[in-house]
C-alpha cells in the first residue's frame, strides 16, 4: 500500500479535524496511560470519551492540545502534525481549540469576566468586542450577575461553567471538554449539554470526556470507550455501558 499523494493526504487530514495514529503515552516508567490509540474525528463531529477513572480520557485530550507529547505515534489537528510543530506555533494551535479542563484551570487573580475575556485578549480582540461577547456567553451558562466575582467566590458548579464559557467564547474550531458536567446538577447539566449541542451544530468539532451516562445516553452520539489506556469500543450513536 503506497503513500497517498500529498494533496490527497492533506485533503484527508483536513477533512479529519483530529486524527490519532497509533498513539502511546506513558508517564515515567508506569504502565502506558494510552496505548496504541488510533481514530479520526471528522469536522463537525461530536465524540464522547468514556471509561473508568484513570483509563486515559484526560490524557487523550491533553495529547490533542499538546499539553503532553506521545512517546509513539502522531497526532494531527486541522491537517497539521502537532508533535512536529515548533513551540512558537503552539499558542496558535491552542487558539483554534477551546478547552474545558477537568480542574477548570481558572486564573485565581482574575474575575469571572476577566477569565472569560482572557481567551479574547489573547487573540487581540478589541475592547468593545470583548465587552459585548463576554456577558453574552456568561448569560448562556447562567452566570449573569457574577461577572465581578473571583473564582474562589464561586460554587464548584459555577467555576465549571466559567471554564465552559471561556472555552467557547472565541468560537473555536474544536472544543475539548473534560468532564464539563461533573459538578453540575442534572438540570444545569442538561442546559450545558443543550448549549454544546447548539455549538456543535454551528460546525464546531467537540470531543468530550464524561462519566455522565445520562448525558451520553440522551445525546446518542459517537462513543469511544477506553479501558486502562486501550480503546475497547468506538461506536456511532453509542450509549454508556
Amino acid at each position: 500500500m503506497g503513500a497517498p499523494p500529498i494533496p490527497a493526504l492533506i485533503a484527508r487530514l483536513v477533512y479529519f479535524m483530529i486524527r490519532l495514529e497509533n498513539v502511546s503515552k506513558m508517564y515515567g516508567s508506569e504502565l502506558p496511560a494510552v496505548r496504541d490509540a488510533s481514530f479520526d474525528v471528522p469536522k463537525g463531529e461530536f465524540v464522547f470519551l468514556v471509561g473508568p477513572s484513570g483509563s486515559g480520557k484526560s490524557t487523550l485530550l491533553r495529547l490533542m492540545n499538546r499539553q503532553e507529547r506521545p512517546e509513539r505515534g502522531n497526532v494531527w489537528v486541522a491537517g497539521r502534525n502537532i508533535n512536529e510543530m515548533a513551540n512558537s506555533q503552539i499558542p496558535f494551535l491552542r487558539r483554534t481549540m477551546g478547552n474545558v479542563f477537568q480542574d477548570y484551570k481558572l486564573l485565581p487573580n482574575k474575575t469571572v469576566f476577566e477569565n472569560v475575556a482572557f481567551a479574547l485578549e489573547v487573540i487581540g480582540k478589541p475592547k468593545h468586542v470583548i465587552g459585548q461577547q463576554v456577558p453574552q456567553v456568561l448569560d448562556l451558562v447562567g452566570l449573569s450577575g457574577k461577572e465581578d466575582r473571583f473564582p474562589h467566590q464561586l460554587s464548584g458548579g459555577e467555576q465549571q461553567r466559567v471554564s465552559i464559557a471561556r472555552a467557547f467564547v472565541n468560537r473555536p474550531l474544536i472544543l475539548l471538554a473534560d468532564e464539563p458536567t461533573g459538578n453540575l446538577d442534572p438540570a444545569t447539566g442538561e442546559g450545558i449539554m443543550g448549549l454544546l449541542d447548539a455549538i456543535n451544530r454551528t460546525g464546531t468539532t467537540i470531543v468530550m470526556a464524561t462519566h455522565d451516562h445520562r448525558v451520553v445516553n440522551a445525546m446518542r452520539r459517537r462513543v469511544i470507550q477506553l479501558d486502562r489506556g486501550v480503546i475497547v469500543r468506538d461506536q456511532e450513536r453509542g450509549v454508556y455501558e
Binding site: 492540545n65 499539553q67 499558542p91 486564573l107 485565581p108 481567551a119 489573547v122 475592547k127
Partner: protein, 301 residues
Amino acid sequence: MIQRLSYAFRETIASFRRNMTLSVAAVITSAVSLLLVGTTFLIQRAFDNLLTQWRGDVGMIVFVRPDVTPEALGFIKQNLESQPNVIDVKKLEYLDKTQSFAEAQRVFAGDPTTLSLLSIETIPSQFKVVPKTTDPELVRSLANQYRTLPGVAGVSLAEDEFDVISTLSGFVRTVTIGMSLVLLAVAVILIWNTIRTAIFARRREIEVMKLVGATDWFIRVPFILEGLIQGLAGALVSCAGLWGLNSAWTSGVAGFKSGTGVSALVVPGSYVNGVMIALLVIGAVAGGVGSGVASSKFLDV
C-alpha cells in the same frame, strides 16, 4: 497592537493590586539594596574628596641660604618655573626673609626655645612648591634635583605623609569602587531573587495562560512591566532614603570645626543627583530584565 498594550498595562496594574504581598516584598528588597549601593557611591566620593584635599596640602619647601646672591635666587626661581608640567607654577610662592621669619614665628609658636634661636638675619628664605604629580618617586627625584642647585640650603619634603596619602588614596578608591560594584551585583541578585520567588508563586497562572493560547511575549510583557515598576518604585524609595541620609550627613559634617578636613566629606549635590538617576535606571533595568528572565523559566510548559 493597541489593545495588546492596553491589556498589558491594565494587567500590570491589576496584578499590582492583587499580589500586594509579593509586590511590596519586591519593592522593599529593591529599595533596601539600591539604598546600599547609593550609599557606597556617596561614601566613595566623600573619601575621594578627602584624599584629594589632603594630597593638595602636601608640598615641598626649597630653603634658600640666607647669604644667597640675587643671581642664584633668580636661577633657582627660573629653574622652578621652567617645569610647569611637574610643579604647579600658579601655586609657587616665594617667602623672603621677613615672611619666612613671620611664618617661623607662627609654626614654632608652641616652641619658644627653637623660636629664640631664630633671627631675621640667619633665617633661610624659602620657595613653597606644590608638585603636580602624585607619584612619590618623581617628587623625590625632583627634591634631589633642587638640592643640587647653587644657593639651596636644603629641601624639606613631607615624604612619609605623601607616601601614605598616595597609597591610601589608591587603596581606598579600589576598595570603595570594589564595594560599590559588589553591592550593585548584590542589589541585582536580590531584586532578581525576589521577583523570581514572586513569579514562582504564580507559575500555575502562567501555565494556564499558555493553555488558553497566550504567546510567551503576551505573558511576559505584563510581568516585565510589573518588575520594571517594582524596581522603579524601590529605586524611588531608595532615592528618598539617600537624599535624607545625605542631608543628615551634610548637616552633621557642618558641625565639625572647619580646617579639620572633615568638611571635605560633603558630597556635592550634583553628584548625589547623578547617583539617584543611576539608581532609578538600575532599579528599572534589574526589575524588568529580572522578571523577563524569571518568567521565561516557567514558560516552557
